[in-house]
């Protein structure tokens, strides 16, 4: 992905009236978001608040109402939105013979990975892994990576197609405190050096307070949104989390 000095701040992504209903149950209703490139927006909320559903809906994986727009603020032209997605973990069991190359190539290319390694693709993947200092992992088995290593590999894959929006599901397991710090530092680096907007689902209120530009408190609908301070000191926040986090 092309590195830039500073994000232009002129692109914006709008989520309009997004809603998800499964059977009789309303999971999300009337979600409106406005995200700019060069910013990190964190979504917080309790378990079952619909955070993962929101990501699935934005990726068009589940049926939903509403739409997503991607606009250039200067001329108002609507462009096609490319979304890079970083899941929490992969569905790869221990002892599975899938290398990092195999995994990324399966998503990036149609050239059958079981046949042979494609030189050009191999170099491209390696280049992209380098951004997160993960190029030495390319021939390792995915199931043997540590939580932090897997996150870096998944991030590399997510930015390969030069996305305008990066959707991140924060890892909850397999990462130690140092790994978490590194994860957030990497996101911060991405935000500052690449032209993209980042939307992060987070479970760690302290890290959100430290790194996010904007926070969205979610529970079926948006309870509160704004700067870290605005959200963390609101009564909605206290009602959900029951305490105040010092900002």
């Amino acid at each position: 992905m092309r590195k830039i000095i500073e994000p232009c701040g002129l692109h914006c992504i709008k989520v309009n009236h997004l809603g998800v209903t499964m059977g009789e149950q309303v999971i999300l209703e009337d979600i409106n978001l406005h995200i700019h490139c060069g910013t990190l927006t964190a979504i917080i909320g309790k378990n079952g608040a619909g955070k993962s559903t929101l990501i699935k809906a934005m990726l068009d994986d589940i049926p939903h109402e509403g739409n997503i727009e991607f606009k250039d603020r200067e001329d108002g032209k609507i462009q096609k939105l490319r979304i890079g997605y970083v899941p929490q973990s992969m569905n790869i069991e221990k002892n599975t013979p899938i290398s990092v190359y195999d995994m990324i190539a399966s998503y990036q290319s149609n050239f059958p990975v079981f046949f042979r390694k494609k030189r050009k693709l191999y170099e491209e993947i390696k280049e992209s892994l380098k951004v997160f200092e993960a190029d030495y992992l390319i021939d390792k088995q995915v199931c043997n990576l540590s939580g932090g290593e897997l996150q870096r590999v998944l991030l590399s894959m997510a930015i390969m197609d030069e996305p305008n929006l990066l959707l991140l599901d924060e890892p909850v397991s397999g990462i130690d405190q140092n790994g978490m710090e590194l994860f957030y530092k990497t996101i911060d680096y991405l935000k500052k050096h690449f032209d993209l907007a980042t939307l992060l689902i987070s479970h760690d209120l302290d890290y959100v307070a430290k790194y996010a530009d904007k926070v969205i408190l979610l529970d079926q609908k948006i309870l509160k949104q704004g700067s870290v301070k605005e959200v963390y000191q609101s009564k909605e926040f206290r009602e959900v989390f029951g305490q105040e986090v010092t900002v």
Binding site: L59, D61, Y85, I92, P97, S99, D102, S106, P112, Q141
Partner: protein
């Protein structure tokens, strides 16, 4: 020794059986890799059992060629299982087990009516020596279809298996691929069930891939070893069964099992996990 082999080769049925093994085993080795990765062992087992029901349905409907009703039933059964396990919240294993037991019971009940089941019991262990030229042609066709599917869709199917939402975010048609894969397994299992046998067909799908996982570290090795082990077990099993006068299917599985245990021990010794 050479005399032994030339004698063996002189029988037409042996040559046909050899050809069939050379087509079926690499196919099973290939498909097995994905079946094991996707944890579909139970699914393919249920499909094998559904052959009985398919034949029973054919008998009830008065179809002259029960092979046809068997294939049609298996394809419907596979799609149904896929649909239910993607919709339901109960564990996939349980659902498959319920449907599989139910369909086997119905099949057995119908086929055993009037004490006629012995007519169908050869289906249980299979008889590769009775395969005809025409049936080999069917196998060649399905072999070609599988190779094309594998070359075109393998990456995408692999992507769906590793993370469905991530695959969807890249516009990969997950449900379509899963259904096509299920149909392909159904077709192959049905076309080879007469030669391999209901009781052991799943072992032939799972064992080579499982053995390969003990050695392989990437997809290329995984496929290579799986196909190699599958073909080796098939050919050696066929030869041994000829000389020992044992049914071929079980002999192939015995060889494949031995390979599994050897690779398992090797992996333990090398990596200790």
């Amino acid at each position: 020794m050479t005399e032994f082999f030339t004698a063996w080769w002189q029988y037409g049925f042996m040559r046909n059986a050899f050809l069939a093994v050379m087509i079926i085993t690499p196919l099973f080795g290939l498909l097995g890799t994905m079946i094991v990765n996707r944890k579909m062992a139970f699914f393919s087992d249920a499909l094998g059992h559904s052959a009985l029901t398919g034949i029973a349905v054919g008998v009830v409907l008065g179809v002259t060629d029960t092979n046809l009703s068997m294939v049609v039933f298996a394809v419907i059964f596979a799609l149904l299982l896929n649909k239910i396990s993607s919709k339901s919240t109960a564990s996939t294993d349980t659902i498959i087990s319920v449907f599989s037991s139910c369909s086997v019971a119905v099949g057995l009940a119908i086929l055993s009516k009037g004490g006629n089941f012995s007519k169908y019991s050869s289906l249980l262990v299979g008889d590769i020596l009775s395969i005809t030229r025409r049936e080999i042609v069917y196998l060649i066709v399905i072999f070609a279809v599988t190779l094309i599917f594998w070359a075109v869709a393998f990456n995408k199917l692999n992507a769906v298996s590793m993370h469905r939402t991530l695959a969807r975010s890249r516009h990969i048609p997950a449900a379509l691929l899963e259904n096509l894969f299920a149909v392909l397994i159904a077709l192959i299992v049905m076309l080879s069930i007469k030669w391999v046998g209901i009781l052991i067909i799943n072992a032939l799908l799972i064992l080579p891939a499982a053995s390969s996982r003990n050695l392989a570290v990437n997809m290329r090795e995984y496929h290579f070893f799986s196909i190699l082990f599958s073909m080796f077990s098939g050919i050696l099993g066929l030869i041994i069964s000829y000389f020992t006068n044992v049914a071929t299917g079980p002999m192939i599985i015995i060889v494949a099992s031995v390979i599994y245990f050897v690779t398992f021990a090797y992996q333990k010794a090398m990596h200790g996990n």
